[in-house]
């Protein structure tokens, strides 16, 4: 299929020769390793975070397998020792959080899409961008070193004084790894902030930014403001552990609860680093696939900012049982509910967007609908945890484990996959088989629910988290959960197969396969090295009248008689 048959028109994608795309414009290892092209960096990030996801997932499967049976009467497990189990859940958490979820959408998809969507040629600081990728790699190497040196058994939370004085594992390399990954994240954040402020083309006002960019903007604010606190905290822990300077260990005159304040001051906002970009993807996908203008653009945009700001003042809801004062707990609980409201607003706006639409059930939309279902459960179960009286019972049980997996996996991972399927044709210039993409999504959806839904019940019945073994009454829930984990694996393997097949023999993608009005679809798929020859004309990003279906290219092209509407 060639693009030379596109209808002519003022905004028609410029016809480019085959070789003029970012994948082919140069070749060789160094052309990738030293690239300053945000698209190539995005692709490298994508490969990197997916590798981390695979590793973290294998640890999770090992945990679930072990938990199929409780330990026998002598304390022996199915195939792990308690120490190995503890190391696996620690590394599962640390790898998934620091190496996968946090960079997944911003650094992989965001890096690739953000400048194109903005109508810019690159990010503001291309070198810093590459640097942040290499920092990610260095951080990952530290985690590999942890694996070699006998693991990490503190949990991803590094609570003191266990982490500072008792743990016999490679805590310091893990802290250094997380510290370095923090800088990678900060650099990405700075880059995005500056890009969004300074590189908007003429006509691209803030209220014309696509919602994905609003989401990335809000995320970047958190990355820049919160991550340094994590860095300092981890360094203090390194100092205490290495030199015995008392900061958190009461035996040395320190305060272990202080660590929790520092830690959650970062890690609660980090939850929004993980979910805001995901929500932003859903806004794009739902509008495009419902063939409707997004409903409540300003409310969705502002709710991202609201979440980012309120998110800084709720960290204490992780600490209702820690011994923090009841007054502090009360304030934190009240503020926590204030973050829940903007999330609810988004959901209602998405639903209204679908009203009277023409809903195309393509793979991205299937993921978006899955997101809606799973995120609703994740969000609603958060209410039980934000409420002080009920949190006391549920804290540190499997209820919490289920809740945050619904948010982080059901939310972020589903949104990541929605985004990956949405932009895949743009990124690699190939279409994929819809049918197997959707089958993979549905199998994964079933597996996910089977894994985590039973955990709510065992949690509220009292099963603590981070347990290598358990009392017999919880066995049935654990077994359902383990079966679910393997089902989820099958679903994700179908997804992987589907995407690899697409790369190998997918049909060539048109410039705008889904008919979206945002600018990344105005250039060819895959985009040329410089994204746009001339700055594309900026309009309302959700005015889908801009495009019309063109059966010849099997994609959408710009309507020649299109007159941009003044507002939205």
């Amino acid at each position: 299929m060639s693009t030379t048959t596109t209808a002519p028109g003022a905004l028609t994608p410029a016809v480019q020769p085959e070789s003029d795309n970012y994948l082919k414009n140069s070749s060789g290892f160094l052309s990738w390793a030293m690239t300053l092209d945000h698209k190539r960096i995005g692709v490298m990030y994508l490969v990197a975070v997916l590798t981390a996801f695979f590793l973290g997932g294998m640890f999770a499967l090992a945990l679930r397998t072990e938990l199929f049976f409780p330990a026998d009467s002598t304390g022996k497990g199915l195939f792990l020792t308690p120490d190995l189990y503890n190391q696996m859940f620690s590394l599962h958490g640390a790898i998934m959080v620091f190496l996968f979820i946090i960079p997944s959408i911003p650094a992989a998809l965001g890096n690739f899409i953000m400048p194109v969507m903005l109508g810019a040629k690159d990010v503001a600081f291309p070198r810093l961008n590459l640097w942040s990728f290499y920092l990610w790699c260095v951080g990952a190497v530290f985690f590999l070193a942890v694996l070699m040196q006998g693991g990490l058994d503190t949990g991803w939370t590094f609570y003191t004084p266990y982490s500072s004085t008792k743990s016999l594992t490679a805590v310091v390399p893990a802290l250094m790894g997380a510290f370095i990954l923090g800088f990678s994240s900060i650099f990405t954040g700075i880059n995005f902030l500056v890009t969004l402020h300074k590189m908007r083309p003429p006509g691209m006002t803030f209220f014309r930014l696509p919602l994905f960019l609003w989401g990335l903007y809000a995320t970047a604010v958190i990355q820049v403001l919160a991550t340094p606190v994590l860095g300092i905290t981890l360094l203090m822990l390194v100092v205490e552990r290495s030199f015995g300077i008392g900061i958190f260990d009461p035996a040395l005159g320190g305060d272990p609860v202080l660590f929790q304040h520092f830690f959650w001051f970062y890690s609660h906002p980090a939850v929004y680093i993980m979910i805001l970009p995901g929500m932003a993807i859903i806004s794009e996908v739902i509008s495009t696939f419902s063939r409707k203008h997004i409903f409540g653009y300003r409310f969705i945009a502002c709710s991202s900012i609201a979440i980012a700001l309120f998110g800084f003042f709720v960290w204490g809801h992780h600490m209702f049982t820690s011994g923090q004062s009841p007054l502090a707990s009360t304030i934190f609980s009240a503020l926590t509910f204030s973050v829940a409201v903007p999330s609810a607003i988004k959901v209602f706006n998405w639903l209204t967007t679908m009203y009277k639409g023409n809903i195309v059930l393509g793979a991205p939309m299937i993921y978006a609908l899955g997101f809606l279902f799973l995120f609703a459960i994740g969000g609603l179960t958060g209410l039980f945890l934000g409420t002080m009286g009920t949190d006391i019972h549920l804290h540190d049980t499997y209820f919490v484990v289920a809740h945050f997996h619904y948010v982080m996996v059901g939310g972020t991972l589903w949104a990541f996959l929605a985004g990956l399927y949405y932009w895949w044709p743009k990124m690699f210039g190939k279409m994929y088989a819809q049918r197997s993409a959707i089958v993979g999504s549905i199998v994964a959806f079933i597996g996910f629910n089977l894994t985590f839904f039973p955990q709510f019940f065992m949690g509220s019945q009292g099963m603590p988290r981070r347990y290598f073994t358990y009392v017999p009454e919880f066995q049935i829930y654990h077994q359902l959960s383990t079966i679910g984990a393997y089902t989820l694996l099958v679903g994700l393997l179908i997804v992987a197969y589907n995407l690899v097949q697409s790369l190998l023999k997918g049909e060539k993608a048109p410039a705008n396969p889904w008919g979206a009005a945002t600018l990344e679809w105005q250039c060819t798929s895959p985009p040329p090295y410089y994204n746009f020859k001339d700055s594309p004309e900026v309009g309302d990003p959700y005015d889908l009248d801009r495009v019309q279906w063109d059966p010849k290219t099997k994609g959408y092209v710009n309507r020649p008689d299109y007159v941009p509407s003044a507002s939205h």
């Binding site: 609570y159 004084p161 004085t165 011994g323 009203y355 009277k356 009286g389 009292g462």
Partner: protein
């Protein structure tokens, strides 16, 4: 599971009969449990209704407006302040109710009645130790039914958290400070007591029970626990101390090592050495005659000499064990050689 009007919820008091255990919770075995569960069920109903609405609307839209022959999208408003306000205000109000209900429940959990009897709790990797007003100690928590008990807790090493699901209470146990919680059991029986703050290798076996007894049985029990050292022969008394102080978490009483599962040497070894008048070898290459003094030091300041091949993870018992306890404990360890 049943729905309660708001007034009942906000008044959350234990006037209603406690529920049996169900798929959500174990039986409501303390005075606060019923009220807290009411809050849970209130949130649950709000959640179920909201969830069903969201999913039903989404499903309906997908069915009615899915792409098909002859169907076109229609233009509708792209924003609407009225709608936005509606779906901002309704959740806000519902959440305010949740917050206040949760706040009241929380206060109930935090304010112990004046007449509560205090039991001191010591958390230690991977064992609980309970001390009663009369000087008794135990490894299981024993409490009377129908009387408030306040646990004043501290840890000797890392963070732990004391959790009794049937009572709906939980509080972190922090080294270097006291934290506390209180409850009043309303049902006799034996309930789980878990550690819920990750604390290393055997976190998942830092489990014991709460036994709720009638008042008379409770009094008899703590009396029996109080002065067993005077009553029992030393070896028998020593065995109790051994179990109570958490030594079983790391030591076998045979010669078998627990190195693989994060513990220490089997104590029959050192008992045999003492019987034979042998020497114990240490990580730094030195050795010393195995005798009562060596065992004493191993317990009080274990890191003074580390048995070769083992990590220095044993917690020091200096200041946490009485001379009487130490004496019978050493007698018991020596008896393991035969």
């Amino acid at each position: 599971m049943s729905f309660h009007p708001l007034s009942a919820l906000l008044a959350a008091q234990a006037t209603q009969t406690p529920r049996e255990g169900n798929i959500f919770f174990p039986a409501e075995a303390s005075t606060v449990a019923r009220g807290l569960d009411d809050i849970f069920y209130f949130i649950l109903w709000v959640s179920i209704v909201s969830f069903v609405i969201v999913i039903a609307v989404a499903a309906m839209f997908v069915l009615r407006y899915r792409q098909r022959e002859g169907h076109r999208e229609e233009k509708t408003a792209t924003h609407g302040l009225g709608l936005e306000l509606t779906w901002t205000i309704i959740p806000t109000v519902l959440m305010a109710v949740m917050f206040f209900a949760g706040f009241k429940g929380f206060l109930g959990l935090r304010q112990a009645p004046q007449d509560a009897e205090t039991v001191f709790v010591e958390g230690q990797m991977w064992n609980w130790n309970f001390r009663y007003a009369n000087g008794a100690q135990s490894q299981e928590l024993v409490v009377p039914v129908g009387r408030p008990i306040k646990l004043v807790m501290s840890s000797v090493d890392v963070l732990h958290s004391l959790y009794i699901p049937a009572f709906r209470v939980k509080q972190d146990v922090v080294p270097g400070r006291y934290t506390s919680l209180w409850f009043e059991a309303i049902q006799e029986g034996t309930f789980h007591l878990f550690c819920t703050e990750y604390c290393g290798t055997k976190h998942s076996t830092m489990i014991t029970s709460v036994r709720v007894l009638p008042e008379a049985a409770y009094q008899a029990e703590i009396k029996e626990l109080a002065n067993f050292i005077d009553r029992l022969p030393p070896v028998e008394a020593g065995e109790r101390v051994f179990n109570m102080k958490g030594c079983t978490q790391c030591h076998n009483i045979t010669t078998e090592s627990r190195l693989q599962s994060g513990g220490g040497p089997g104590l029959a070894n050192v008992a045999k050495l003492i019987a034979e008048g042998g020497q114990q070898k240490f990580a730094d290459g030195s050795s010393v005659a195995a005798d009562e003094q060596y065992v004493r030091e191993s317990i009080l300041v274990p890191n003074a000499k580390i048995v070769s091949g083992y990590p220095a993870i044993m917690t020091a018992y200096q200041g946490r064990i009485s001379e009487d306890e130490l004496r019978v404990l050493i007698e018991y360890i020596k008896s393991l050689g035969n």
